[in-house]
Amino acid sequence: MDRKIRVVVAKPGLDGHDRGAKVIARALRDAGMEVIYTGLRQTPEQIVNTALQEDADVIALSILSGAHNYLFPRVMELLKENGADDILVFGGGVIPEEDIPFLKSKGIAEIFGPGTPTSVTVDFIKEHVKLNLENK
C-alpha cells in the first residue's frame, strides 16, 4: 500500500507552548507522513473531529500545562464513542512519570518526555501503524 501514514498533531487545552508540536509535525512530514497540525487551543471534541475528517491513523497530543490527566482521557473517550479507538494516540510534553500508567490505562499508547529524539517517534509510529493494519 502506498497510502501515506496520516497524523494529526494537536495541542489540547489552553497551553501555548507549540515548539515541540511544530518540530514533531515537521519531522513526521520529513519522514514521509501526511501531517495535519491543528494549532492551539483545541478541545478534545475538535481534535477527534479533525482526526475523523482527515481519516487519521495517528493522533499526536502535545501538552505542557499539566492538564493532561483531564484532556488525554477525554480524547480517548470521544474516540471510543465514535468507534475510532483504533487510531494510535500518543502524547508528549511535560508529563510526570507517575502519571504515565494512568494515561496508558486510558488507551494512550505512549508518552514521549522532553529530550526524546524525533527519530524515536517516527520509528514508533511506523511500527505501530503497521501492526494496526495487520491486525485489521
Binding site: 489552553l14 515537521r26 487551543r41 529530550g115
Partner: protein, 555 residues
C-alpha cells in the same frame, strides 16, 4: 612601522605557524559557531575591535548609548532584583509561596497566572476544565486578588505580573487592592508584561486581534503616565521568542521590532514619546553560550538607544535606556539528570549579571519535569545570592568590556539585528511581519535546525545526547491539587450571589460603550473590577466589541 602594522605582521606569522601545525594537531571541530551561527575565530585581537569608537559605541555606564549599562554605578549601587516567577493553585496557596520567598531574601514578586486567567476565562468556563490553577494562580475577581496579596506590603515590594491580553484588568485589580489598603496608585512599583505581539508569535495567550489589542496597550501607557507613574507599563519580551527556538540574534531583533511597533502605536495615539518611553521595559532569556549572551545584552542596549534617539527623537535619557528582566532558559533544562540543570542555571545567571540585567529569575532544576518544589526554588534563589555576594562579578561595572571577543561579538550581533530590523521595516513593521507569518517561520526554522543538529550529535547536551546515565524517576515533584477547580468555582458562585449584580451590569454596559468608542478604557475597567465584575465578564464584553484573534497555522 605603526603599531597596527606590527600587529598585523605578527598575527599573520602566528596564523601561518598555527595553520601548519594543524595537520598534526587538528582543532576539535572544522567550524566553531555561536548559537546564532556566527563563526567564532580562533582568537580575537585589537585588529577585530579597531572600528569601535570608545565614546560613540560604548560610552560610560549610564550614558548614551548605554552599552556598558543603564546606571552609572550598576550593582555597586544596588544589586539586581531577585525575582522568582511563582504561582499555582488558589490565591491562598500562592500567597503562602510569596511570603516564603520574601522570607528567603527575595526582593520582588513575580506572579504566574493560570491559563484561563491569561486568556480571560473564569474558572467555571468550559475551556478552563483541567487547567485551573495548573501553571499559575487562578484569579477570577478582585476577591481572589485581595487574597493573593494579603499581608504583603504593596508600597514596599515591586510586583511583576505575567499577564498580556487581559493586562488592563489585572493591573486594575492590583490598583484596587492597594487602594483598599490605603496605598495610592502613585506609590505602586511593578510591571505588567502587556506584550501581545509576542503572544501571537510565540506564547499563545492572545484574545483580541492586533488593532484593539494595541489600543488596550496604549490606553495603559496613557493612564499609567498620569496615575501610576512608577509602573512599568510593558515588558517587551524576547524570552518566549527564544524559548520557541529563536537564536540570540533573532531574540533581540524580533523583540526590538515589537518595541518599535509599540512606540509607533503610542505616538499614533497622540502620546509624546518622552511621556511613556521611560516606563517601557524588556524581558530577555539567558542561555548557555556565555559570551554570546553577554554580548547580546550589550548589543540590545546600544541598538535600542539609537532607535529611540535617532528614529523617535526621544530626548529624555530614560526613554533611551533599555532596562530588562532576565530569566534563565527553560528550554535548555533537561529532564535527564536534572541536577545538571543547577550548573546550567548558574552559567546563564552569570551571563545575565555580566550583561547588566535589572532583575533576574533563575529556573529551578526540576522545571523540565513539573512546577518547581519549594526546595528547588530556594536553591535557584541561592544561586543568585552566591553570584551577588561571593563571586565578585557585581563589584565593578560591565567587567567584560574591552574583551576583544566580547566587543567584536557585540558589534556583530548589532549588525545582524539591524539587518533583521531593516527587513521587518520593509515589510511594514512587526505587526505586518507577524500577520504574514514571517517571524513565526524564522523561529520555527531555527527550532527545527537546532533539533536536527542535536539529533545528529552536532550539538551536545550533556546527559541527553552524550554522557547519558540510567536514573531513577525523580521524587518530590510538586503536584497541583486537582480540587482547585471545584474550590475556585464554588468561591466564584458565592461571589456572584453576594455582589450587587445591577451595579456590575451597569459598569459592564459603560465599558462596552467606551470600547465601541475611543475613550481610555482603564478607568472603566477599574470601576468594573471594583464592582467585583469577574475577569471573564470583562473580557467577554471586550470580545463582543473587539472580536477574537484567529491565527494562521504553519509548521
Amino acid at each position: 612601522m605603526s603599531d597596527k602594522e606590527e600587529l598585523e605582521k605578527a598575527f599573520k606569522a602566528w596564523e601561518e605557524k598555527t595553520d601548519k601545525a594543524l595537520a598534526k594537531h587538528p582543532e576539535r571541530k572544522a567550524k566553531f559557531m555561536t548559537g546564532s551561527n556566527t563563526p567564532i575565530q580562533r582568537v580575537y585581537t585589537p585588529l577585530d575591535t579597531e572600528d569601535i569608537d570608545y565614546l560613540d559605541d560604548l560610552g560610560l555606564p549610564g550614558e548614551f548609548p548605554f552599552t556598558r549599562g543603564v546606571q552609572a554605578t550598576m550593582y555597586r549601587g544596588k544589586l539586581w532584583t531577585m525575582r522568582q516567577y511563582a504561582g499555582f493553585g488558589t490565591a491562598e496557596e500562592s500567597n503562602a509561596r510569596y511570603k516564603y520567598l520574601l522570607a528567603q531574601g527575595q526582593t520582588g514578586l513575580s506572579v504566574a497566572f493560570d491559563l484561563p486567567t491569561q486568556i480571560g476565562y473564569d474558572s467555571d468556563h468550559p475551556l478552563a476544565a483541567g487547567e485551573v490553577g495548573k501553571v499559575g494562580v487562578a484569579i477570577d475577581s478582585l476577591e481572589d486578588m485581595e487574597t493573593l496579596f494579603d499581608a504583603i506590603p504593596l508600597d514596599k515590594v515591586s510586583t511583576s505580573m505575567t499577564i498580556n491580553a487581559p493586562a488592563a484588568v489585572l493591573l486594575a485589580m492590583y490598583i484596587a487592592v492597594a487602594e483598599k489598603e490605603g496605598i495610592p496608585a502613585s506609590a505602586l512599583d511593578g510591571t505588567i508584561q502587556n506584550d501581545i505581539l509576542k503572544e501571537y508569535v510565540a506564547r499563545g495567550t492572545y484574545i483580541f486581534p492586533p488593532k484593539p489589542s494595541m489600543r488596550l496597550i496604549t490606553d495603559i501607557f496613557a493612564y499609567c503616565a498620569r496615575e501610576v507613574p512608577n509602573w512599568n507599563t510593558i515588558s517587551i519580551s524576547g524570552y518566549h521568542i527564544r524559548e520557541a527556538g529563536a537564536t540570540a540574534v533573532q531574540e533581540v531583533a524580533f523583540t526590538l521590532a515589537d518595541g518599535i511597533a509599540y512606540v509607533e502605536a503610542a505616538i499614533a495615539a497622540g502620546l509624546d514619546v518622552d511621556d511613556f518611553a521611560p516606563r517601557l521595559s524588556f524581558f530577555f532569556n539567558a542561555h548557555n553560550d556565555l559570551f554570546e549572551e553577554v554580548a547580546k545584552f550589550r548589543a540590545a542596549r546600544r541598538v535600542w538607544a539609537h532607535i529611540m534617539k535617532d528614529r523617535f527623537h526621544a530626548k529624555n535619557p530614560k526613554s533611551q535606556t533599555l532596562r530588562f528582566h532576565t530569566q534563565t532558559g527553560g528550554s535548555t533544562l533537561t529532564a535527564q539528570q536534572p541536577s545538571n540543570n543547577v550548573v546550567r542555571v548558574a552559567i546563564q545567571a552569570l551571563a545575565a549579571v555580566l550583561g547588566g540585567t535589572q532583575s533576574l529569575h533563575t529556573n529551578s532544576m526540576d522545571e523540565a519535569l513539573a512546577l518547581p518544589s519549594e526546595d528547588s526554588v530556594r536553591l535557584a534563589l541561592r544561586t543568585q545570592q552566591i553570584l551577588a555576594y561571593e563571586s565578585g562579578v557585581a563589584e565593578t561595572v560591565d567587567p567584560l568590556a574591552g574583551s576583544y571577543y566580547v566587543e567584536s561579538l557585540t558589534s556583530s550581533i548589532e549588525k545582524d539585528v539591524l539587518a533583521y530590523l531593516d527587513k521587518i521595516d520593509a515589510m511594514g513593521g512587526a505587526v505586518r511581519a507577524i500577520e504574514q507569518g514571517y517571524i513565526q517561520q524564522e523561529i520555527q526554522d531555527s527550532a527545527y535546525a537546532w533539533q536536527m543538529d542535536m539529533e545528529k550529535g552536532q550539538r551536545i547536551v550533556v546527559g541527553l545526547n552524550k554522557f547519558q546515565a540510567k536514573e531513577e524517576p525523580p521524587k518530590g515533584l510538586l503536584r497541583v491539587d486537582p480540587s482547585v477547580q471545584e474550590r475556585q468555582v464554588a468561591k466564584l458562585g458565592k461571589l456572584k450571589a453576594r455582589r450587587d449584580n445591577a451595579a456590575v451590569q451597569a459598569c459592564l454596559e459603560r465599558l462596552k460603550k467606551a470600547a465601541e468608542g475611543t475613550d481610555n478604557l482603564m478607568p472603566l475597567i477599574l470601576d468594573s473590577v471594583k464592582s467585583y465584575a469577574t475577569l471573564g465578564e470583562i473580557c467577554d464584553v471586550l470580545r463582543t466589541v473587539f472580536g477574537e484573534y484567529s491565527p494562521s497555522v504553519t509548521f
